[in-house]
Amino acid sequence: MTQALDEIKIGGLGASRKRVEDDRFIRGKGNYTDDITLPGMLHMEILRSPLAHARIKSIDASKAWDIPGVHLVLTGEMMATRNLAWMPTLSYDTQAVLATDKVRFQGQEVACVIADDPYIAKDACEAIDVDYEPLPVIVNPKQSVADGAPVIRDDKENQPDNVIYTWEVGDAAGTDRAFEQADKVSRLQLHYPRSHPSPIECCGSIADFNRATSKLTVYMTTQAPHIIRAAVALVAELPEHMIRIISPDIGGGFGNKVPVYPGYVCSILASILLECPVKWIEDKTGNLISTGFARDVYLDGEMALRNDGKILGVRMRCDADHGAFFSDAQPSKFKLGLIHSAFAAYDIPVAHLMARGTYTNKAPGGVAYRCSFRVTEAMFFQERMVQAAADDLGMDQAEFRRMNFVRDDDFPHRTPLGFLTDSGQYGKCLDVALEAVGYENFRKQQQEARAKGRLLGLGISTMTEPLGAGNSREYDILGIKMFDSAELKVHMTGKAIVRTGARGQGQGHETTWAQIVAHELGIPAEDIVVEEGDTDTAPFGMGTYASRSTPVAGAAVAMVSRKIRAKARKLAAHLLEVSEEDIEWELGRFYVRSAPDRGVTIQECAMAAYSNMPDGMEPGLENTAYYDPPNLTWPFAVYIVTVEVDPATGVWDVLTTVAVDDCGVRINPMIVEGQIMGGLTEAYAMANMQFITFDAEGNCIGSNYMDYLLPTAWETPGFELHSEVVTPCPHHPIGAKGIGECAAVGGPAAFVNAVIDALSGTGVRNIDMPLLPDRVWEAITYHRDISGAPPVRTDD
């Protein structure tokens, strides 16, 4: 008698398998871009603009050329002779590679030096003399659209002003009618401040052009190597088959490593010109002031309410500050990412959203920082608005949410702004969270503390976000459809290799993809190696960002495993000398239905694929699957935070943080929990300290870790996680949903709502993030809202 395999023991679905990649990282044997040294390699440094807006009168690089060890100085003028001074962005705009006419933000790339050594290259950058003529500076959308505002993008034809786009979605007339019928209208205006994903590892590349083979190999910090290959082919006009992009270990991405940056392009050109490898490794200031920022959106919304608490309609206006170049990495059909996913968890009959994007003299970006394209702004506004509305109605925060949630039996649910949510148990998640935090009891404690002058607060935030773009009908980047891929090769001894078009940056793909194969085929996970990030070997895919790896590439891994199993079944029939119809599958083994003892393992089938296949069968056991998801996956979460605010200083301490995440089936619960805790920390960071601002001259305040504050182990609170609610995704092959970003998306509002709740009764409805002590103190002391920036309306 054979015994069925224990899926957890072989490291299948649901096993908290220890991570394979850790073995090299804990030994200091990771292989990050800066760890790679090639023979004859030179080093590149970038000279950046100290001014936010200025005309370049002249550049004199003669002193730089004179420094021993300098091989090349590149300027915009030299790039222009090769048609490389400008490059296309991922949002159909153009971006300067090296400035020619003007600089348009502080930190913009002006020149670069390639030398024997980075120290020499840096010396030479300092020896370049640039004569600037300063121009008036614009640092927010209100200034962008003011009368007489200088046109930042005067390089573009048909760009008479600073407006990039206006975009609307929803039913304007129907929403107007809902507001006419409302008993009450709540309004909230806020600014989601500019932030930076700021992985600890900065961006960098090593370009290695080999004249003898005409092949260009680029090692680089990219979350999406195949998109980069396509971009390099288009920008540099090189044949795509002669470009190999290798994304080695990545020291964190969080969306920062999706775009194409000027440094990559310059290192490639330098390698072609000098015919040797050229390494560019950005410093932290370069990273913070010039690469993809996130957020920076002014949000203004209204909610039409019935006195019993029913939400009748929502209006939103979004004013986005995109910086000097519109280089958001996002699906092309949507101008402000998936901002219109706001309020998707609530059953709201009608809504209307307007968005406007403007140029300013700030760094470009608008990347999806731990976020599925602007859903972070959407969910933050949603949950702040919901809290304000409940307060305006005098209703309980939890009950107001519960009565407006989409109900479990209403899925799939079409949202008023056009999404189709797939599944969920929203009320149950809320129940678990309320129970965990001891809701009723806390409310009593809060009242008692209030009587003694202590300010306790509780904030609830819920979120459902669209994760896992495509489907390809609606989602593409630069016209490339957003599917993903997996290739599986089973060797004759039953060991295997998986490659996908995704590229992990700490998410643990090397561990979890093997678990999906183990689940589908019964091959122990330890017998499966995972490889990603090399465009010469990996199948084409769109990369890892926006929590799309498990929903799309992970699905492809399951689908390719099923293709392999289908072939293995034919091999099993041949080995067992029965027809395919007479064969049953159990984990890791086919057997004869009428004689369960007669069976063959998947490993025996693999051997047969190379040594004993039936006549007419193609040998081998390898396949590839491209997965085009039918819909996005829609995880749901409830986050509840309690805080105590010190009225004398405005300092607030987190007492408890409860997270209830329903992300469908969990492949590796340990890794899922790690993702949630990381997201909660970024949520806390956003709410508490982490933002980048600019002075009136466009100087970036937050250009290094002394000014751009990230939480450490000391201030980061502890987290309590709950995993008991599981609603499998109905359209994903293994029922999984995205999870990497949920807590960073839904979390910030829980922290802010808690502080605002602590101030209830003082008349304070909003303090813009981050809730710095001085802002909270000012709100408490003067009983007023605190705006982080001047409010701007799209219809001003």
Partner: protein, 176 residues
């Protein structure tokens, strides 16, 4: 014996002073000829090829470059190479022996204390300096000792658990 220095050419050679330093790294005695301005982190990474010590910022905030110098945790991007003359350096590559991981390395894997792995060597070196001094730290001790090291992936909770796991293992080993 290894001699490591930046070759700046004859012309530069006259302008740039070179200093000879002697030090030990992970127990191995070395001599290097370095520019006085060379950062210790660059000596370790580029000169010695020990790339486990990472560099994440330019302002001594992130701690990815943490190593031990004479047993004390030091952010190697903020120390000049010439300052280690006559001193002992330990990097992440010196934690494990050929056959055996250090309990901190085991702890980080066991408790899922890392994700992208970039901050990990610095975290472990800062933690090692703590455990060398305090074999039985509280959670608060660990959080304070690691407060000079930034992690963007984990949220620290599992890092703290990893260090406590290692502390317990080290105590049981020394008791045994």
């Amino acid at each position: 014996m290894t001699v490591v220095y930046e070759d700046l050419g004859d012309e530069a050679g006259e302008a740039v002073p070179i200093r000879r330093i002697r030090f030990s790294i992970n127990g191995k005695k070395m001599v290097a000829e370095v520019e006085p301005r060379l950062l210790l982190s660059h000596l370790i990474r580029r000169g010695l090829g020990l790339t486990g010590t990472h560099m994440g910022c330019d302002t001594t905030n992130c701690g990815a470059c943490t190593v031990q110098v004479d047993g004390r945790p030091v952010k190697s991007c903020t120390m000049l190479a010439v300052q280690v003359d006559g001193r002992e350096i330990t990097t992440v590559e010196g934690l494990a022996t050929a056959s055996e991981l250090h309990p901190l390395q085991e702890g980080f894997k066991e408790e899922h204390g890392l994700q992208c792995g970039f901050c990990t060597p610095g975290m472990m070196m800062a933690a090692k300096a703590l455990l060398d001094e305090n074999p039985d730290p509280t959670e608060e001790d660990v959080r304070w000792a690691l407060s000079g090291n930034l992690c963007r992936c984990t949220g620290y909770q599992n890092i703290v658990k990893s260090v406590l796991w290692a502390a317990a293992k080290l105590r049981s080993e020394s008791a045994g």
